[in-house]
Symmetry: C2
C-alpha cells in the first residue's frame, strides 16, 4: 500500500491541500507548517505519484524526440545520437523527461503526430529533420504545438529549428588555406546531389573566389563516398604535373582513402601538403597522417534545441526562432 498525500496530511495534522502547497512551494505557507509537513514526508518516505501529478496538472513535463531508430542507425548516424544526448541533458536539467519515438517504418506518420498532440502524451516535440514532412509541419503549426526541428526544413517557414551550417564550414576550410597562402588547392567531394556535400563545396568555392583564387576543374573530383574512391581521387590529384598543395576531403570516409594515398606517396603534412576534412567522427581519430578538421559541435546544438523548446512551452507566444551552430577548427 503506497503512501499518498492523504497519509502525509493525516500524519502532519494538516489538510491535503496544504501538503500539496508545501510540495509545490507556495509562498503563502508558514515556515512552521512547512517544517511539519516536510518532516512527515521524510518520516513516511513519501514520493508523489507522478501519474497523478501529471494528470491533475494537465501537463507531463515530458518531451517526445521523434526520429528514426533502426538497426545500425547508431553506427551509420552517430551524430544524431550525439544531438539527442545534448537535447536530453538540457531537458533533464529543466525537469523534463524525454521519450523516444520512432517513425521510420510508420505508414501514417502524420496520424502518429496527430495522436501525440491529441492525447497530450507530451508537452512538446523534437523532430529530427530526416523524418519531418510538410503534413506533419502543418499539423504542428496549426495546433501551435511546442516543437523544434533538428535541421532547417525547407517548407513551412513558421517552424522553429536549429541547424548546423555546412556552407560556413566550407568557408572555414577555404579561409584556413587562404590565410596560409596555399596554392593550388584541390577538393574531393561526394556526389553533388548530397546536400551536405554540396553546401560544403559551395562554401569552399565562395571564399576561394573572394580571394581570386581559381580552382581549375581538374582539381575538383566528385565521387561516391567510399574510402577506395577517396584513395583513387587523391592518387590522381597527387600524380598531376602540378600537384596540389592541399587536399580538402568533404567527408570522413573520403579522408581515410586520401590519407592512405598521402602516406603511400611519402608526403608530409603540412610541409608537403595541407590535408583538411570535416567532422571529427567517426574516423579522424585513426586517420594517419592527421588532417586538420572543421568540426561542428552537434551536442551543443542539442542543448540549444532543448533550451528553445522549454522556452516555447513556458512562453507559448514566443516568436519563431532558429539557431545555427558554428563550426570550429581542430588541429589534431
Amino acid at each position: 500500500m503506497p503512501i499518498t498525500i492523504k497519509d502525509v496530511a493525516e500524519h502532519a495534522g494538516v489538510s491535503v491541500s496544504t501538503v500539496s502547497k508545501v510540495l509545490n512551494d507556495w509562498k503563502t505557507i508558514s515556515q512552521s507548517t512547512k517544517d511539519k509537513v516536510n518532516n512527515s514526508i521524510k518520516e513516511l518516505n513519501y514520493t508523489p505519484n507522478s501519474r497523478a501529478v501529471s494528470f491533475a496538472r494537465g501537463n507531463t513535463r515530458n518531451i517526445i524526440y521523434l526520429t528514426s531508430l533502426s538497426k545500425d542507425e547508431a553506427y551509420t548516424n552517430p551524430h544524431m545520437f550525439d544531438i539527442m544526448c545534448g537535447v536530453f541533458t538540457r531537458l533533464a536539467s529543466g525537469g523534463y523527461t524525454m521519450t523516444l519515438m520512432d517513425i521510420s517504418d510508420d505508414i501514417h506518420p502524420k496520424e502518429t503526430v496527430a495522436g501525440i498532440i491529441a492525447r497530450k502524451s507530451a508537452d512538446g516535440i523534437v523532430i529530427h529533420g530526416s523524418v519531418i514532412n510538410e503534413d506533419i509541419a502543418n499539423l504542428i503549426i496549426s495546433n501551435s504545438f511546442p516543437h523544434i526541428v533538428i535541421g532547417h526544413p525547407d517548407f513551412n517557414e513558421r517552424l522553429c529549428w536549429v541547424d548546423t551550417n555546412h556552407l560556413l564550414a566550407g568557408q572555414y576550410a577555404a579561409e584556413y588555406l587562404s590565410q596560409r597562402d596555399v596554392s593550388p588547392v584541390s577538393f574531393i567531394g561526394g556526389k553533388r546531389t548530397e546536400f551536405i556535400s554540396h553546401e560544403r563545396e559551395r562554401g569552399f568555392r565562395t571564399i576561394m573566389l573572394k580571394y581570386h583564387k581559381k580552382i581549375p576543374p581538374e582539381y575538383v573530383i566528385h565521387t561516391s563516398s567510399t574510402w577506395e574512391e577517396g584513395y583513387a581521387a587523391a592518387k590522381k590529384l597527387l600524380s598531376m604535373k602540378e600537384a596540389p598543395k592541399a587536399i580538402v576531403c568533404e567527408n570522413n570516409t573520403l579522408a581515410v582513402g586520401a590519407a592512405k594515398a598521402i602516406s603511400e606517396m611519402g608526403l608530409k603534412v603540412p610541409d608537403d601538403i595541407f590535408f583538411l576534412t570535416f567532422d571529427i567522427y567517426p574516423y579522424t581519430t585513426i586517420i594517419d597522417p592527421k588532417p586538420t578538421i572543421i568540426n561542428i559541435n552537434v551536442y551543443d546544438m542539442g542543448l540549444q534545441a532543448a533550451d528553445m523548446i522549454i522556452r516555447k512551452i513556458d512562453n507559448p507566444s514566443l516568436m519563431i526562432q532558429s539557431y545555427t551552430t558554428l563550426p570550429e577548427i581542430v588541429e589534431s
Copy 2:
C-alpha cells in the same frame, strides 16, 4: 476545449463506461453499440487523454532506459545506442513508450532509482551495465520492480540480465583458425584489466589449448588500444624469424594499426596471413586489408531485453532469466 470520453458518450447516446469498454475491447459489448460508439469517436475525432488513462489504470506503459548519455558517448560507445534502438523497437511494438534517463553525473543514483519506483513513473526499467551498482540492484530486487540489466552484473544473482558472450567470441576466432590449420597464430590484445579484452583472449586460448596448439608468449602482445600500438605490435610480430600466419586483434582500433602494418609489408590476406578482429563497427568497413570479423548483433540483444521486460511486467512471478547473444562470423 478537447473532446473527452463524456462527449463521445453523449454523442453516441450511451454511458461513459460503455465507451470505455469499447475503447478497451471488452468482449461483452454488442456489435451494434460498438459501431455506434466507434462512429461517434470518428466523427468527433476523439483520442483518449493518455495522462488520464495512465492514472486511472495505474500503469504507464512506459519503460525507463537508464544509462550514461554524455557528450561524445554516441561516438565512443555506439554499441550502447544500437542496443537501445533494439530495446526501443520491441517496446514500441508491444505498446510501450521508452523514456531515457541519464545517471552519469548523478551523485545519488540510488535515490534516483528509488524515486522512479516510488513515484511510479514507469512500469519497468532497463539498466545499462555500466551504471548499475549493488545498491541499485538490491533496491530493484527488494521492490520486485520489473527490470533488465544490459550486461551480466557480478553482484545480486537474482537480477534479470542479457549479455553478449565475449568468451565465446574468442573461441569462435580460435575455432576458425584451427579448422583452417593455421599455425603459428598471434594475438594483439588490450590491457589485461579490460573485461571484454580479457574474455576474448581467454576464450581464444581455451580453444587453442583444446586443439593442443600452443601460443608462445612472444606471439601475444598486450598494449593500449590505439591504432599506433596496434601497428607497432603487428610490425613486431610480422618481423619475427618465424612470423605468425594469423593475427587476431582483440578490438577494432588495434586492427586499424595491424592492417596498416600488414599492408605496408606487402602481405596478402588470407594467402600470406589470416587477419581477424572483433565487431564490425566502428572501423572494419574502412580497414584494408579486410579482416574476418567475429561480430555480435547487439541490436538483437536489445530486442530480447525488451521482450523479457515485457514478459516480466505481464507476469511478475516469472522466474529470473538471462539471455546471451551468440557471435557470428562475417567475411567482408
